[in-house]
Symmetry: D2
Subunit: 348 residues, 4 copies
């Protein structure tokens, strides 16, 4: 198979670097171009990216001359754009890319909730990719935009999906989120060392709204939202990578711990692409797992881990812990997995 040339929009930032690192050696995709702001354009990636990942910068990327996002022509030798743009830039650039004929797999929030934009976790709702047709025809675009959810949403929703058939009614989630989610310079060390921050801007809203679309059903060319009711409380803790979430799930009828655990254990893989983990959900039996330090790299960062499944004190309620890597499964890896499914389904 000849590899597909891809670009990374916003390549110097923290998620951008993850794209560059994860795409290195990818069997299907080949890094074709790196885009950043005007002031980085014309320089080698090595010179403009303040690399902070504990791997050497891939040699090919290091020598690539960065291009400006303000200057993407329609004739780039590229089929697919991954987007890690800052919000204001994304609004403009992602659309113009789609218009110009590129497929855009975006990690940015701006288009997620638009009616004709797929918001996809492949193991959960890859059928929603069918919205692409609607999007193209409605907007008259040659290309299209697909998106993946917010990091903390992905981790939670992967664990909720197998519980939907047990008639899930209510979800309460309390997060303990890693600092990498705020971007490289997003969180001063003075703010988080020996501390907990009980507030993450816009995070609770995303966790409460995005899942309704993802878990919703495609009816014709529209998504009908799921009816589950979600309430989130989001907090930052001094952990580098890996979001941990304490979740209460309330069902219409009585559901046992064993039924919940079975649902997790029986959750199928179904897709088989380079980034799809063998086990999307790993059930930990130890009483003190999952832990971000020990479990974030499971399935090369693409599996989520659940544990401590136990009946709650309230009627029809079970509580458990879920953990997932926020910048791999929850960001760059999510966009790459989505793109792989695009290839499999023939969209690229």
């Amino acid at each position: 198979m000849r590899r597909i040339k891809v670009g990374v929009l916003g390549a110097t930032g923290s998620v951008g670097q993850r794209f560059v690192q994860l795409l290195d050696g990818h069997p299907w995709f080949e890094l074709g171009a790196l885009y950043a702001s005007e002031r980085s354009a014309g320089k080698k990636y090595r010179e403009v990216a303040k690399w902070f990942l504990p791997y050497e910068m891939p040699e090919a990327a290091a020598e690539t001359v960065v291009k400006s996002v303000d200057d993407i022509s329609e004739t780039e030798d590229i089929a697919l754009m991954f987007s890690a743009l800052p919000r204001p830039t994304a609004i403009k650039v992602e659309k113009s890319c789609a218009q110009a004929g590129y497929a855009v797999s975006s990690n940015v929030a701006v288009h997620r909730m638009e009616k004709d934009v797929p918001l996809v976790i492949p193991e959960v709702n890859r059928d929603h990719l069918a919205l692409i047709e609607e999007q193209r025809s409605r907007r008259g675009w040659d290309g299209f935009i697909i998106t993946n959810p917010n990091c903390s949403t992905i981790v939670m929703v992967l664990s909720l999906k197998p519980l939907m058939s047990l008639k899930l009614n209510e979800v309460r989630v309390s997060t303990m989120q890693a600092v990498s989610g705020a971007g490289y310079a997003g969180l001063p060390s003075m703010a988080i060392l020996d501390n907990v921050l009980p507030f993450i801007a816009t995070e609770e809203g995303k966790m409460e709204s995005e899942p309704l679309k993802i878990l919703g059903t495609l009816e014709g060319s529209e998504i009908k939202d799921a009816t589950v009711n979600i309430c989130a409380s989001c907090h930052r803790v001094p952990v580098i990578d890996g979001h941990t979430e304490a979740i209460w799930v309330k069902f219409e009828d009585s559901v046992t711990e064993a039924e919940v655990k079975n649902a997790f254990n029986n959750f199928p893989r179904e897709i088989d692409t380079p980034f799809s983990p063998e086990k999307p959900i790993i059930v930990r039996e130890e009483q003190d797992r999952p832990q971000p330090k020990l479990d974030r790299d499971a399935g090369r960062g693409m599996s989520i881990s659940v544990g401590r499944i136990r009946s709650g004190r309230m009627k029809n309620e079970v509580k458990y812990i879920v953990q997932g890597h926020n910048t791999v499964r929850g960001a760059a890896g999510a966009s790459i997995l989505n793109a792989e499914v695009l290839v499999e389904k023939g969209y690229i």
Copy 2:
């Protein structure tokens, strides 16, 4: 007023050190004796306590010769014992102290749930101290035992008390607890650096059962448990001091954010002793407070701080964050405050 001589049982451990530090300069109490295990007995406190608090060891305590807990006579020149004993020792020693005529104010869990032992947070249920009479007569003791709740329970229950009159039905709480709660050597650095531990042994049970007694009503010589239903998920984070808790409170009828905030703001001081904070509950208006690093020392560690009061997605539900110092308000300071109320009420 002549100061009352007090002893500290289990003086060398982490809570024991807090007792020694907090009692230094106390206007009502004077450190009369320090008790520890047989192997520390006969040596100066300075030599046996591996002091870890960021204050100098009080000079008087440093020079005190430690006595053995196995060897407490009935004729010590002491009226009151504070207990920070390890569980197995506490079972034996606290009772023999009470039998020998001492008042025991204990931070240990062993006697908390016994029917005739007061489990007290003064601002919440100091009327429960009346159980002392029942305890003495039933057990034939000259002295008595009173207890304070578990650290995470105290922080939560102080915030729940003003909500009880709003007809509180259900409480879900997710904790982010400081490492000092595990004792000085309780938690290896390898376990918690860059990590979250989603399990604390016996903690969830304590948070679910202790509040029912504390919030219960004294009827004759018995406590009738409160009927609120509590479900806890407990987690350890890399914070030195200060427990942070995300709480969902569900009421029988509709209750607004404003009503909850008013209830917190109007919670009265009522008692006026050296360790009772001017404001038991401090309401923070900032969107990112309370934080353990900034708020744990409020009210010299004896106030709890609440914030982020907001309506939830579920019917009749409000969510908020509460934070309190786990080894001051949640442990040694709690026992001292209880003892102060004993003095005020004439029990000592």
Copy 3:
């Protein structure tokens, strides 16, 4: 004694906040004005300072309307300015303040090495304040500027001063510096969690040059540099407050551990002002002290602590550890102590 009105230049930043906190309740100084950049001017301090210290913002400061540093008139009701300005602003503003007749006690680096500007640690070289006359006459100013050294320099030099009479030749110092030294937003959490940064811009140069002036001798109206040779390696570690430094001191002749310890122990207080610690140097006898967490607040943050004094392997060499609070003794507290000595000596 009527209190002297003082202003804080750069009051919203991290050192500025320390000034505001430390000046609260000062027996000699009264906060008269707070200065910040144009965009904060006209608003209350409470609204513009993102307060991050674990104490409540002092009420009086909170309600003070911030003034612009671009707009300091000559007729302010203020005798003394403390400066925590950003470097470029300091260059312009400190001089114009001095010209306008104010005494300026600055924590900023820009004027430290100028020949007629005193660079002072009161316990070490308060006689250098005599340079003020030279400065005034040479520059024709009514006011004047005095400075304190860089944080890591202060901690080191306080420990070197008593060793000078033992004929000190060479000093090698390796620092483990706290993140607060980089300012509130200076160091991203991603950069320092689970990490050591072996580079702090301009720090080694400051540690190698500033001490020569401070330890130098005033001859007429000039400072003659000390001849000791200093070589520094500077590193940032995940500690919030408190710089720890490993130091090798090499003497002209043989010097024992005991002689070094005696020199530390016999270092006199000599000055007696509100911020001068009873013991400028505290000698710790424990084998694992000083530690920043346990020792930074010694002497209310104004003492340094030394320990682990031991003979080295090289001839005439001794090694030891020193620790001090970088934002109290090493910054705002240093400027305040300098100002107190100005008052005592009649300069204000």
Copy 4:
């Protein structure tokens, strides 16, 4: 090549786990037996090892039934023992293994400084393995013991080796060591969070004495110590893995930064076994490298990284920073690399 069966002595501890993890999939060695204390014997490794590495426990090891170190027969189907035993056990068990005919590659300190025991870093002094003959004949053993140095010594000495030919006279080293070096439960989180510990028991002595043997020359059947003079100051910082060391090197004559850098850059690989890194020494050109978080995994944890090479203030002196993974290159990986060289040289 048929794989050689190896055993791990002290397999449940922190270095023991690293052996198990690093040996998984090793092309030359096959895990044949796991030894631990009597109380773990007879149980599966999965049940007795409190696994703390961020990788899944290797399946084969997990199912292995642990044997008692008190009960090693002479007829085990094993050729080589890796030792991570606690000191007192090592004294007895390592010798009896060597006597019984096993080759022992030990990470334990007890035999390191014995005259006929090789203390080896392959890139530095693999010729010292010739001591094995002397050891066997003198002690009448069928097997033998070889050792690797202390973690902080290995990292330093690898960087010193290429400087020896520049006539190195004096070395001063200040370490910032990771917590994993203290063993899993060696360091309470309360001791190190927001702190620096300026003392590590016996560490400075090891760093000052071991290098003299390693850098010494084999003359006949004896090692003649190197004459360089080393002085160490050792400190623990809140980093999980990776020791960082600030080093001053003083030469007999003038040596430039460029000469030192060249010496590092030209340091040859020479050996080619599975665990020998392609580049034993990696020179970082960035001004703020090496950093443990970014560089500890270089060369799969077997390379050290140096940087910030700069002339010092003292005559003939250069300073630099070195960093290496303390539990891979500095412990289990070191023993494995030594064993590989044993195989290459025909000792096994």
